[in-house]
Structure formats: C-alpha cells, structure tokens
Subunit: 247 residues, 2 copies
C-alpha cells in the first residue's frame, strides 16, 4: 500500500450511518474508538465510521473513502441527509482529547455531513468489518457513543423511515420473489412498530407495482402464501407519468 500524506481539513468531517437489515432486526454499523479517559487511562467506546475530509477532497468521495477504510464496505449508495453544525456539538473532554491525540491539533468545532445507507447484513462483508473493530448494533440498543453520534443515528433513522414510506427502497433488501408477510416484517422492523396484517396487504397491493406470481410457498406448515415481485419498470413508468400529488 502506498503511503499517502494527507492534509486534513479539520473544520469539516463526514459520518456514515449504515443501517443493516437482517430477518428481524435493524442494526447500525459502529466502530471501536480507543481514547484516553479523564485520568489519561486507555478506554474504548463506539462511534460512527467517519473522518475529516482532506483539503482537496469532495464530500461524497470522502464519505465513501472513510467507509471503505474503516469497514471494507464499498460501492454503497450513501445519501447525505443532514448537516450537524451546532457549535457545541463537541464538548466532552474525551472527544477533545481524542482529536488532539489523533490529529495533533486542538479542534473544537467541526461541521459534519451525515450520510446514510441501508444494506442487507447477510450480503455484506461482515468478516472484514469485524476484523477491523466494526460491529453491528441493534438500533434499539445503541449505547452511549462518541460525540453526538447517537443524535446523528436518531436523525438518520427518521430519514430512513421517511424514505421507506415514500420510495420503494425496501424491495432491494428482499429476494426477487417474496411473500407479503416478509415485506410486512421488513416494514415493521424498520418502522419499529406492529402493523395490522389486513391493512398492510390492502395498502401495499394498491400501489400496483407488486406483481403476484403463479408460485406459492412450498413445504410450509400453514396455508402457503403467494409470492410477489416488485415491478420496477411499472414503477418507473408511473413516476415518469405522474405529477406526484402523493401527499
């Protein structure tokens, strides 16, 4: 690996909130931070994958670079969702110390651009991530984190939930054919609530982008359910012709 001397821009950073969907849980990808506590003793906590941008680096590229360096993940569609620029967002002694230790500078104010992505945990290269001190944590059990990263995750989760309500992002996490029940579980996991079965079925089928297949589940103890698939071309055509008025 080539040794590259990087000059950081200590005023601007990027942070990545990577949500991971598994069968019945929504998790977030966090990495371990080693820092010195108030007594100067070594301690650890968790933080989002993130970094300062370098002086000549585009923000989106900085986010992709950071995520790749810290977790090994690549080719992830990262969507910027908010800027965190409160002048007091960095105030804890351990955070100020950590900046001093890792950059050599006294850094007090950093504006961070936060990105989010939603991926399927079973399809992600988790081995590499774990090796590099990264781990998947249940979004409902996120502990105290470095900086304001808990707030960033909360805001990111709201953006993810809004996106799920307004865009067909859920289907990418399911196999090509799926039952309505599987789709409902995905919505329940991400929205963190129990949905009424009949209502869900009625509403989701009204979208008309779900196509029922001729195939049913096999080898199940209960009454086998039909499989469906998401028809992206029907969806794209609708979006093109539509004025929206989805409100």
């Amino acid at each position: 690996m080539q040794n590259v001397v990087r000059t950081i821009n200590p005023h601007i950073s990027v942070d990545c909130v990577i949500f991971g969907f598994s069968t019945s849980q929504l998790k977030v990808l966090l990495i371990q931070r080693d820092y010195s506590n108030e007594n100067g003793a070594p301690a650890q906590d968790l933080k989002l994958p993130g970094d300062f941008i370098t002086t000549r680096e585009d923000l989106d590229l900085a986010a992709a670079r950071t995520l790749n360096e810290l977790t090994g993940l690549q080719n992830i569609f990262l969507k910027p969702f908010a800027l965190f620029g409160n002048p007091d967002r960095i105030y804890k002694e351990e955070d100020l110390n950590w900046f001093k230790e890792t950059t050599g500078n006294n850094i007090q104010r950093v504006v961070t651009s936060a990105y989010f992505a939603l991926i399927n945990i079973s399809e992600s290269d988790l081995d590499y991530a774990l090796k590099n001190k990264a781990s998947w944590i249940d979004v409902n059990q996120v502990p105290q984190l470095a900086f304001d990263h808990q707030d960033i995750i909360k805001t990111g989760l709201r953006h993810l939930q809004d996106a799920l309500r307004n865009e067909p992002i859920g289907f990418e996490l399911l196999p090509e054919k799926f039952t309505i029940r599987k789709l409902q579980t995905l919505y329940e996991v991400i929205l963190n609530c129990k949905l009424d079965n009949r209502n869900f079925r009625k509403k989701i089928l009204k979208t008309k982008y779900l196509v029922q297949l001729d195939e049913k589940q096999a080898g199940v103890a209960h009454k086998p359910a039909y499989y469906y698939r998401f028809d992206k071309s029907k969806y794209d055509k609708h979006r093109k012709d539509s004025l929206g008025f989805n409100f």
Copy 2:
C-alpha cells in the same frame, strides 16, 4: 444598533435560494455584488444571499441571519437541501479577489450549506429588498452569477419541484379559497411545464384534501368555477394514519 465584532469561520458558509411565486412566474431572489474585475476595475454581478458562518453560530441561524441582513426578510422557513463542497467550486479570479477584499484573507475552499424557501412575492417586503440591492429574477432568465450559484439554484429548483410533488406546499401560496385552474397554474409555473387540464383535475381531486365550497366565481366572462380549500386537518390525519406507500 450595537456594533458586534464577528469572527467568521472562513471554511463554511450558508446560501439561501429564495423562490418567489407570482401569478404566472417563478423568480429567485438575488443580490448585487460589487467586485473588482481582472483589471482591478469595479464591476457588478449577482449572487445568492449568503455569508460565512461565524465561529459560534449554528448553521440554521446563520442562514436566517444572512437572509435578514441582506434582504430584510424574516421568519421564513428555510430548508437545507444540499451541501456544495467540491474543492474546485471557487476558482474564478473575481471570486477569489472578492473574498480577499471582503474578508482580508486568501480563501480558496468553502463548503456551503444551501437552503431554500418558497414565498409569495406579493406578500414579501420587496421594497426593503430592492433598496438593499436585492432583486427578483425569473428562474428561466438567471444570468451568469458569482461562484457556482447557478448550479445551486438549479439543484434548489429540483428540490422545490420534488417537494411540490410530495408535500402540500403549494396551497400556502394561494388565497384560502381558490379554483382548480389557479392551483394548476401554480403547478405549471413551478414545474415549468404545461399540464393537461382534465388529468390535473382528476388527480388533484383524488388526494381528498381539497374540499369543494358552495361558492362559485362571480363576475367572470366564462362559466364560473367552484372554489376549493385545502383541508389541513384531513391531510394531517391521513399522514398520521398512513404508512405512506406513496411511491
């Protein structure tokens, strides 16, 4: 007025794209910039209302403060829509010179957080704005601007159009009661296209948040049309109950 010494943070700025709706036009609010051209001669062009943030200033507050100082507008809901952080976004000699003249520093890289708002021109305090070298320019006739402000306006316009398709933002620009035809004009002006009358009526009435009043237009040469109003409580209830699936 108190004299406040401000220390700017020369790495981060805010820019406001204020769209103004009039009966048949969409405009954008620009302010005059006085700068020195490559020969050192005084010259003028236009830019978005914007400024560096100060060292202790929150970004949203910086945007509101800047807009107020440069145009007199206040209490405008400013929505952040994108971050412009390309390392080469500031390269023109006149832009670099202008920074040098106005801040005393050699500034080369600034990341700007762009905000947008949509207001009704007839209800805005245009006199104050004009007095302060601000002017409303038709979005389809924006000339060459300072920095990358044309790009910022283009991106802002796409966000505005998306918002109009997905949220009931248009109604705030109309009187409490309005005809479908007036609403259609608003959509046509903002989306910059001609819409089919019958289709528009059909689609917009399907949203169910428009309530037909008992009152018709009076004193018009053509067949008088019914007035409608937007029912915000119906809308809010729908949003609360709804899972979305608007995609």
